[in-house]
């Protein structure tokens, strides 16, 4: 993939077609992977010696936490590309990342609380990772709210891109200040989220679930980006032929 073809990938018509074509494949493969992962995680994996069966929530918490973090970094990278080359593709990618990332963060929070209930007795226990996940949710909300409140689309794109860049720079700082703050209060509770050296038959469903969630994120992303790109490229010839042309989407 030399640079030329990567640059060509950025051209709206090709990217739009790519999104439309790839989206069903992403969806089918992710559903399959998640089905296999869920089966493996819920039934095949042996119960944890300490937590019993409640540890199976990890198969739903870790993938969504991973995707929520990845989505923000992905949003910031496409925001940077958008600001530098002022490309509609990058801006529509960044804009459609936000709601998906926010939903995955919310998912990670809920499963984290459900995880905390059996393990520590209370749902919210100010664990370092859960707290920085909550702050990530607020960063997403700030991005979405800012995008909604600026009427002019190109101005909104660029302003929110700046916010995404500032946000992604601050995520590690916020995370480690929360971890530092947490070690002061509860140095004792070792968070179960730390990469446990778990047996392989516990591990493979987790890897499959993470892969499935990532592909699912890709499916949602390509769906939304196609929509955003269509709005931005409304006036172009190629889009009008594409929209009017393809009957199956009618």
């Amino acid at each position: 993939m030399n640079l030329k073809s990567i640059y060509k990938l950025g051209s709206p018509p090709l990217f739009y077609k790519l999104c439309i074509v790839l989206e069903p494949w992403f969806l089918i493969s992710s559903i399959l992977l998640i089905a296999v992962g869920m089966y493996g995680g819920l039934f095949v994996a042996p119960p944890d010696y300490q937590m019993g069966d409640a540890f199976r929530i990890i198969y739903f918490h870790v993938p969504s936490a991973y995707v929520s973090m990845m989505a923000y970094v992905y949003m910031a990278v496409s925001a940077i590309i958008g600001l530098i080359w002022r490309s509609n593709v990058a801006f529509s990618l960044a804009k459609s990342c936000a709601p998906i990332g926010a939903s995955f963060t919310f998912l990670a929070l809920i499963t984290g609380m459900l995880w905390g209930k059996p393990m520590w007795g209370t749902a919210w226990v100010w664990d370092a990772r859960l707290t920085s996940e909550l702050i990530l949710l607020f960063l997403y909300l700030a991005y979405i709210m800012l995008h909604l409140s600026i009427p002019d689309r190109s101005k909104a794109d660029r302003a929110t891109a700046l916010l995404a860049i500032v946000g992604v720079v601050n995520i590690p700082i916020i995370h480690y200040s929360v971890v530092w703050w947490n070690t002061l209060h509860q140095a004792s509770t070792i968070s179960k989220f730390a990469k446990p050296s778990i047996a392989t038959e516990m591990l493979w469903p987790l890897v499959i679930m993470i892969l499935g969630y990532t592909l699912l994120f890709a499916a949602f992303l390509s769906k939304r980006t196609a929509a955003e790109l269509a709005v931005r490229e409304k006036r172009t010839r190629w889009l009008q032929t594409l929209i009017v042309g393809d009957k199956n989407n009618a």
Binding site: A54, K223, R224, A226, V231
Partner: protein, 52 residues
């Protein structure tokens, strides 16, 4: 079969998180799909309006 749902006493939490995950993902899919549909129709009407 019933002991599967028991999940060693934590059935509520495990199945709860499963259901919530599926629910959120399905809602995600529906909103993405609906947004795509409405945008395409909006662009279509813009194009047809542009034609006259």
């Amino acid at each position: 079969m019933p002991e599967i749902f028991a999940m060693g006493g934590y059935g509520f939490y495990v199945w709860g998180s499963v259901l919530i995950s599926i629910a959120v993902l399905v809602i995600n899919w529906i909103t993405a799909h609906k947004k795509f549909k409405s945008t395409i129709n909006e662009v279509k009407s813009f194009i047809s309006k542009g034609k006259e």
